[in-house]
Amino acid sequence: MGIPKDGGNGLGAVLSKIATDGRHGEDSPYFDGWKAYEENPFHPAQNPDGVIQMGLSENGLCFDLTEDWMKSNPKASICTAEGVENFSSIANFQDYHGLPEFRQAIARFMTRIRCGRAKFDSDRIVMSGGCTGACETLVFCLADPEDAFLVPSPYYPAFNRDVRWRTGVQLIPINCKSSNNFQLTLPELESAYEEAVESGVNVKGLILTNPSNPLGTTLDRTSLRELLEFTSRKKIHLVCDEIYSATVFSSPEFTSVSEVMHEVECCDPNLVHIIYSLSKDMGLPGFRVGVIYSYNNTVVSIARKMSSFGLVSSQTQLLVASMLSDEEFVEKFLEESPRRLRARHRKFVRALGEVGIGCLQGNAGLFFWMDLRHFLKEQTFEEEMRLWRVIVHDVRLNVSPGSSFGCPEPGFFRVCFANMEEGTADVALGRIRAFVSKREHDGEKKRKWGGNKMLRLSLKPLRYDENNILTTMSSPDMMSPRSPLVRARN
């Protein structure tokens, strides 16, 4: 028979399970703050009391560079008098291999970001509808419904949608701890894997973002090797989302999984995949340029066929090919963008440090991981949400609560800093100072730094030394960030 007739307004009954099960995850708090912003958005002139958007991880610091390039290179656009002769061939081009010059430019760009330490083959570049499309397509290729991917937590919330929604694949978080800067440890990974397997789950792989969203940190070489060794031994896939690879603004330098593959003897390249996009590094999320880069030939072939569901507009392929082939522009951009990110990051963490708010020592990304545990009356997620509502509605800053990233410990928030003008950043900092000062005046007690064993570690106020290198205040309890994949303490 057809669909059962539903009485009344049960329109949901005529849709599929996927359409109605809510696994897209958009009912989470991550989007509630976004909605609060949309209803009352800050504008320096028109709405100076509005909500400032600090929940959107966007790179808005280098638009001037890309805009200048576009104005100086009208031939890269098929709309201009200089470029219109390309219109026919471009408008007609729907080959899912993509424009060869596009793939070559992307491969060169990815190689350049890694300073040539790994070389990318343009024949392995597969297009996708942004990193969102890349992630989903790759999961369709690697796993069947009910299979699972492990992910270190806290993690990018939209993985719940991208990995799980239409694929039917599960996502199993591995809870990381503040006591070692939320870095994934080998025992934690092993334990999560064994637990899943013992409960009958077919674990197909591990997915992680490196540099990390929301932490703003990078994995070091040793840790990457250990992860790759583990996944290779267990014969599961390793998917590295390297979407923030060019946002690394201070040491340690970025190490991509592509650089360590040859150092791991048991590494099976058929199990290693990278997803990428220009949305963060280049600040072009609207252009929907996503990439799947797999070392598995079958995956490349099938993902390419699947890319029919989300090809990059040929108009955009042409523009990107031209832009990223301009080596002078690329050099300038890759130097200037991290410099501006570093300056903006410093502005925020310094100001927050001055009012006693600590952040995880980060060296990458468009955000920092802020510690507000001392603002919670109790260390619970209810308290975290209560504090978050105060921040959104009273302080009028849309930051993202740690719980929306699956953070296992309450009191942490991701704060984006790169999506606003300098003036707006000043307003945001002014509001934070006012908020903290008001709390002190109201007599609310803050827990002191170091007064509680749980708080003794890494999340101290940061400072920049005379060489403008980000360092932490010295503390005997500080875990070295150079070997984050450490053995967990008992």
């Binding site: 028979m1 057809g2 669909i3 007739k5 329109l11 949901g12 005529v14 849709l15 599929s16 399970k17 996927i18 359409a19 109605t20 966007e58 808005g60 638009f63 805009e67 576009m70 104005k71 009208p74 656009s77 098929i78 709309c79 008098a81 219109v84 219109f87 026919s88 408008a91 007609n92 081009f93 729907q94 509808g129 942004g130 969102t132 499309g133 290729c141 690697l142 796993a143 069947d144 949608r161 239409r166 949305s279 600040g283 999320p285 609207g286 252009f287 929907r288 079958t298 995956v299 099938i302 066929k305 029919s308 569901f309 989300g310 090809l311 990059v312 507009s313 108009q315 955009t316 523009l319």
Partner: protein
Amino acid sequence: MLSRKLSSNSHGQDSSYFLGWEEYTKNPFHAIDNPNGIIQMGLAENQLSVDQIKGWLKRRNLTGCEPGVSDFKELASFQDYHGLPAFKSALAAFMGKIRDGRVTFDEEKIVLTAGATSANEILMFCLADPGDAFLLPTPYYPGFDRDLKWRTGVEIIPIHTSSSNNFRITTSSLEQAFRHAQTLGMTVKGVLITNPSNPLGTTITRSEFNQLIRFVDSKNIHLISDEIYAGTVFNNSPDGFISVAEALHCGNHSLSQRIHLVYSLSKDMGMPGFRVGLIYSNNPSLVSAATKMSSFGLVSAQTQYLLANMLSDESFVHSYIEENRKRIRERKQLMVSRLHEVGIPCLESNAGLFCWVDMRGLLDESGPSFGGEKRLWTRLIHEVGLNVCAGSSCHCSEPGWFRICFANMDEWAMEVAMDRIKSFADSIRGQEQAAGTVLGQRFILLLLLSFIFVDDLGRTLSSQVKS
């Protein structure tokens, strides 16, 4: 190690539709550089009107960086899956214009997708669970095997049509397909048609429209109409172009929530590279779910901006639509008349970028078979140098029909293609005649021999009797 999807071939790309494409790319025709190459007549692209668009671009000289008109920063950052309002508004108006104002569209009911490919897949994800079925009239667009089934797990059950009534959909064929799905244990979630039809090039009649509406209403299932060729209707059939959008305002609330359209600019505007598709539906739950799903394939903001500008230019749109129809009509008439001259009929059509061609007369056996069709297709590719689409790849239930595209080449290439078909058809007929002559001669010889034998026998018998 990998998913089952990788080992299945329900991406459908082993079919002759895609294989022919591959053959063409190895040896593509070029009037000067490769005059003996394969002419691509298997790809339904519209290259007849691109000069009009280039002319508009030259007059406007857009860069995407004009202050006050567009802010580059905003464009580069724009990733809202609701789409650029100006673009959706222009699209809604455009869709109304290509239907000559007989129906109007509300921009709030549009969901932007990465081409019609993505739109159709999203509709399957939203309307059906794995193992459910959609009914599709045959012949149908070969890409549906990938778009509707591959990642969704949805099944296609054919609604068989026949040349005896010009491949029209009937209530009995709908019912038969529905029953067939039931015997296979599948839940039917809806019917999907292309209107104008690919590969037939016809629009649905009023009778077909009524039968379809009655059927989906009685079964309480969905109706999806992929109207990607709506702007290619070059002749009014007696009923005119009846868009399924008419049913959106039918007054039956429940039914109007189950009627959905798919559209794209790839065919009407000749821009398949820009990946502009959409779903149109009255059903707010569907629009909401589909909008979220569109995250996996949004339309580039740069492209939305360009096309918002173009489609908002009413006088350009008006002249483009008229001129495009005229050129399609003329090119189609050229091909049909040349085929007619060599005794190859086409299904009478009023739309599309192709004709549905009856090549049963060129099959190599006394009775038509799919084996014969495949052999003919292979000869067409390798001997004649034409990539056409065999009816079997469109799941046609009768062998010998081919879809031949006419709008993706210039007139010179069309003339070369028609000459090649003429030579081929003549040579087959010549062989048949020669074979017929040989056969005829053998038959006469046998007949003569048999008379002699009988006569001899008669004399022998009579001599026996006499003796």
